[in-house]
Symmetry: C2
Subunit: 454 residues, 2 copies
């Protein structure tokens, strides 16, 4: 029985056992206010205790507090199908060898299920069964590196991925696909960009905004696009997701310039301050730029430089912010402070004292802007110049998230403050742009294409 109550703990488990219920049972649940009918689902590892989860007929899942249940009964049974249908992934001689590294993201965990299950399962055979086009693109292997929600991703996870990629790249693999929850995908693509020195093969981070049980799912198309990029000559960390609401093509974003900009749309990811590197459609790549590292004939040696300083404070400026938060970070031994300032890179003068103290205590302070788009310009107003004079470093066009990741990575690489400053101001992985690109603000790729602007 306990096998059949995957993810349930304590009270909820006891409750289900008492009522003789098992996963995939169709049940009717009554609370004081509502009656639900649906399929009893397994739960994720991190799910909160005290709830049961069912899939309603409209395909949405709902969690119901056990304490609120006034009546529960089994009204049917769904055929228990614990395995995604699996066919042998056909290997073709001479095809690129691609490895898919599982992290627990939506693509990986929901590729094909008929019972409403959220079991993360994605052997090559399962993937082939769900997305047979993959076999026309590459020979696929899969490895589960870890299995978490992307909001739980931390530096240790980036490190695990980077080490695994280093091994695979140097052992002859042709490309890597990393299915990843979309929430923190931009953080991960930035972290891997900094950590993978002399990367010799494509590393493609991909996700989906609609799980594959929904008709509008972008999972299969994103995976096909990612596989296409993973077999290309783009030896960089990229993020590949749908590029427009029309579900037509994917965009190839540089790992250090990309961000999730919409909670739910499928074309939620955008390259910020630049146009994307290229697009991918019907398994064909069209690059918008030639400015990227191409695979060398003689592969260079990939090195994972993964040390990361975790004590980085991310300070998002707002009108109620006081010095005390910054003093708190200093008192707690933080090594770096990322400021997401206003406009060209400003914060209120009332927190200058704390910033000065941080710098006096050899904490690295980096300024970015909460506008997201544009370069900080700390020479324009006297307040910006004063921060520069104190020793605040200008983050140029880096988004706050990218600045945070870079700051942690830089302080992991060296204990010497001057070396760290120099490294922070060095373009490591395309995070610094040479100039403003006006068409990159509010771009609409459909339109830029139509107008021959890219």
């Amino acid at each position: 029985m306990s096998e059949n109550l995957k993810g349930y703990k304590k009270d909820a488990k006891k409750f289900l056992i008492e009522h003789n219920l098992k996963l995939w049972d169709i049940i009717k649940v009554e609370t004081k206010t509502t009656t639900y009918e649906g399929i009893l689902l397994p739960r994720y590892e991190y799910s909160k205790a005290g709830f049961i989860e069912i899939k309603l007929e409209n395909n949405y899942n709902v969690g119901i507090k056990v304490d609120d249940i006034t009546k529960i009964e089994k009204i049917g049974e769904k055929e228990a199908k614990y395995k995604i249908p699996e066919k042998d992934f056909p290997k073709t001689k001479g095809f690129p060898e691609i490895t898919l590294l599982g992290t627990g993201g939506t693509v990986a965990s929901r590729l094909d299920y008929t019972t409403g299950a959220v079991i993360p399962a994605f052997s090559p055979g399962e993937l082939f069964s769900a997305v047979p086009e993959l076999a026309d693109i590459c020979n696929l292997e899969t490895e589960i590196v870890f299995k978490i929600f992307s909001e739980n991703m931390q530096a240790t996870h980036w490190q695990q991925l980077a080490h695994q990629i280093e091994t695979l790249a140097n052992s002859g693999k042709d490309g890597i696909i990393i299915p990843h929850g979309t929430d923190t995908m931009g953080y991960t693509s930035a972290a891997l960009s900094f950590m993978l020195k002399d990367l010799s093969i494509p590393v493609v981070v991909v996700g989906s905004q609609r799980s594959s049980d929904r008709p509008s799912s972008d999972a299969a198309m994103n995976l096909i696009n990612a596989a296409t990029v993973a077999t290309s000559d783009i030896a960089e960390v990229t993020l590949v997701m749908l590029g427009s609401s029309s579900h037509d093509y994917g965009l190839i974003h540089r790992g250090t310039l990309v961000r999730k900009l919409h909670t739910s749309y499928r074309h939620t990811f955008r390259t910020i301050d630049d146009i994307p590197m290229g697009m991918v459609q019907n398994r064909t790549i069209r690059m918008f730029t030639d400015n990227y590292h191409k695979k060398d004939k003689k592969k260079r040696e990939t090195t994972a430089l993964t040390d990361f300083e975790k004590k980085i404070g991310f300070i998002y400026f707002y009108p109620g912010l006081t010095s005390e938060m910054i003093h708190y970070y200093i008192d707690k031994g933080y090594k770096g402070l990322l400021l997401a300032g206003t406009g060209l890179g400003h914060v209120a003068t009332r927190i200058y004292d704390a910033i000065e103290r941080a710098i006096e205590e050899d904490i690295l302070v980096l300024m970015t802007s909460q506008t997201l788009f544009g370069f900080v310009g700390m020479n324009v107003y006297s307040t910006g110049r004063e921060l520069l004079d104190m020793g605040v470093l200008p983050g140029k066009n880096m988004m706050p998230e990218v600045g945070y990741v870079k700051l942690g990575w830089v302080l992991g690489q060296t204990d010497n403050l001057e070396d760290a400053k120099k490294l922070l101001m060095t373009n490591i992985a395309g995070e610094f742009l040479d100039r403003e690109i006006p068409i990159a603000f509010n771009y609409d790729i459909d339109r830029l294409l139509k107008d021959n602007l890219i």
Copy 2:
């Protein structure tokens, strides 16, 4: 002499006196590394001591540390012009009576100067001299409410403005213009939207991204557009700034839906999740919606509800965030926590304990998304549902900044937790949208107009 060294303090002042220099002198300054030539400028009140500021020939200002100066000499003199040229503002009978409330923003402080001065000066006569079109639109009066950089704006400033607007609206004025630094303009427009109950006249927040001494300045056009909207029937708080790079028209943004999205471009402001309320071009307004409060024939009574709880923590989630920051806010007696979560409204499970503690201690916790665009959707994943179960309130489509302002305002209005929750979930000033509007994501107004989509 001291009159002529406005803004200079201590060492810098002493240094200038010793070298017999005064404001508007053309000087040559040498440091170990560089030589500068330019006009010696007055300094702002909050400028850091120990620097002199000069305007270079390319019109940029530069601050030079007095300690770094190896040589300084006067090489010429600019005619000292302490007053912006001033003509009487012609009043026309029957024209709308508009009051301009000065805050220290760029439009106000830089409207016209020939010497490189940054003196905030904007009497009606000066404004007329700089932007004569204003006299064709309205009869203008001006009042300085305060004079600060917008990054120093706090709740007390919003309160001062709201009280002044209440008085003016109820004493028969037809509209208000608030020139404001662009950095925190969106915070102010949101705060005034919540604070001004039953607003009877237009309140238009406006700024400029290029000071008026530069050929590309947007100051005059934005001011004309703002005056046009201030004399309209839109009895709401709006923000009016240029709408496209083509310098053609202004957009009218609802005060609770607008954000600065680019550090330097003139069309930096965007309505998020919706199309703007309308546009203004050649002193003509074109509304894209009819859904706004129109001036009543019999004016309603405007009430300023300005109480604001300052102890609101703004927690921008990032992969290195730990529980301790949240515990710190709780320990410090904070009353509300604004979460800028990832994606549909998530944070790492490792901080759940702190969020639970906050809620147990009757702290109001509001979830928004750092994607900026889109609604939070906390029913989609189990992690979102768990946060809802704990008592985290979903901020719908509100941006983090707007959520912060609303949370502070709501907790200023009532001490009763249930009333506060109810008020937080009530649409007060157009901050909640009914639905997603697909064309509002990545919109390009030029294109929407061309395609007849608005």
